[in-house]
Symmetry: C2
Amino acid sequence: MQINDSAKYEKIFKKQIQITEEKIQSVFTGIKPSSLYEPCAYIINGGGKRLRPFLVIISAKAAGSSFNKARNAALAVELLHNFTLAHDDIMDNADKRRGRPTAHIKYDENTAILAGDNLLAYAYKYLLNDCKDNDKQVISEITRGLIEVCEGQALDKEFETRKDVSIEEYKVMIYKKTAALAESCCAIGALIAGADVKVKKALSSFGKNIGMAFQIQDDLLDISADEAEFGKMLGGDLMEGKKTYLFLKALEKAEGSDRVDLLKVIENKGIKKSEIKKYKKIYEKLGVFEDAQKEILEYTKKAISGLKVISSIEDKNQLIWLANYLIKRSK
Amino acid sequence: MQINDSAKYEKIFKKQIQITEEKIQSVFTGIKPSSLYEPCAYIINGGGKRLRPFLVIISAKAAGSSFNKARNAALAVELLHNFTLAHDDIMDNADKRRGRPTAHIKYDENTAILAGDNLLAYAYKYLLNDCKDNDKQVISEITRGLIEVCEGQALDKEFETRKDVSIEEYKVMIYKKTAALAESCCAIGALIAGADVKVKKALSSFGKNIGMAFQIQDDLLDISADEAEFGKMLGGDLMEGKKTYLFLKALEKAEGSDRVDLLKVIENKGIKKSEIKKYKKIYEKLGVFEDAQKEILEYTKKAISGLKVISSIEDKNQLIWLANYLIKRSK
């Protein structure tokens, strides 16, 4: 699965991210009323990895078209993603995102709700710019992804108060909340390129499976990353009592006092900062870090396994490089 | 402009509203997770006039198709409308709508935000069901309407704190907040029917202009309706200090102590219940009820004036009947 020419693919990736970033910066420039468009610009100009737009354009290219044919669609998925962030941050009472105040803190809750709504509207507006003959399929794909995201957020909120969440249920939730949109990104790129069913299926599966790997790795990094590289405090999920892959896997395996300790996290809806070390040791003892790594690898393998239908070796390698790059990320 | 066979058109209208209502009741039946779909169902099952869906289906019929060809599109605009209501109710701190607790009161704010988002997603999902060859135009129309609604809501919120809103600015705001979506409804119906440019333009103009008339009449009814028929207390807009057509027109015309009294409404962001009578007298004295009625009539005439391109006399009469019916409404 390793790619020899890794530096080459990283360079292409970074250049494309930069082009996307420049386009994002200009989406809401000079539009009125500013009470709506300033917050919209604030939300989307907060940085981020811009992975979803890259999934769209690389899928378009891998399906026989070019990066440039799906630029608007790439913006569209990033606008949609930022709509979910703005609304999720309200629901999660999050004060900060990427080192900046969240929109509802910077402005107010009403402004953040409305700006989020408008970001979603603009997602459709931009997507339509890249639609040709199969616009119905393209619009269906983003709409399907959007509904999954809403359902995923609802499940995530449900899980906060439930005590008996299974790993299977967790996987359904992260599929809906994260992987489904990654799947849609790849499907949209493929559709815009006029891909046949096989290629579209392979790319969709790539998006879905790296989405699953991505989310489990997010859970893993939150407790085991290099703190300096991670850029924020470790153990935040445990402090919030979040039912992550690691936590649910630990609960599944634990017995005796470990189990009692883990159940306390649910009872008390989180732990104190001073207790993080103790829980990290329980995770280590139970081997859940290895379990998570195994899952991440399996999803990544599954993502790559379908790519044999991609005819361009360069594009296939770019996709494989991306999957590996995401596994190695430190934040 | 009067229609002889008024009873016949009312019967058709009521029957179609009933069919729409039955379809609405079943949109979210049996879908999981219930933490998302129960609130969605609650929001859309709260009644309402269901005028927007009727605009879609009557436009489809008037453009040469049938009511049945645009049923899903009709549901779509009602879903979109209810998304705006759910989010607006949060922004406006509204506890009740149509005699029931609003969604964020019945559930909580997070639930209402997410349910609103999902209603919007379903609007696109349903709209796609009625799209054929010109799906791009249809999706563009609803997206344009959606962006106008977001901008209109932003302007409405801006106006709350501004002291110098003009009648022209007010008209831009109500166009965006109300009339643009009515315009989209008619355009969507026309597009689904495969209407030519002339017919689509006439129907869009019908929707837009009755939308303008509708909103000014809403302002008028709020202070001058028959209280028993209106179903809620009169003068609510004055108590909230809303910059309605009547208020802005009065401010434009008033001099001396009347002007001082009107400026107090802005200063104090509303008036006491006991003061409503006094302000109603100022409105009467300045003749702003007549001004509003004149505007409503003018917009209604404008709506009807383009309908000569509709070839079916029956459909044209149905549209004229509707415009007249809306003028005569008491709530």
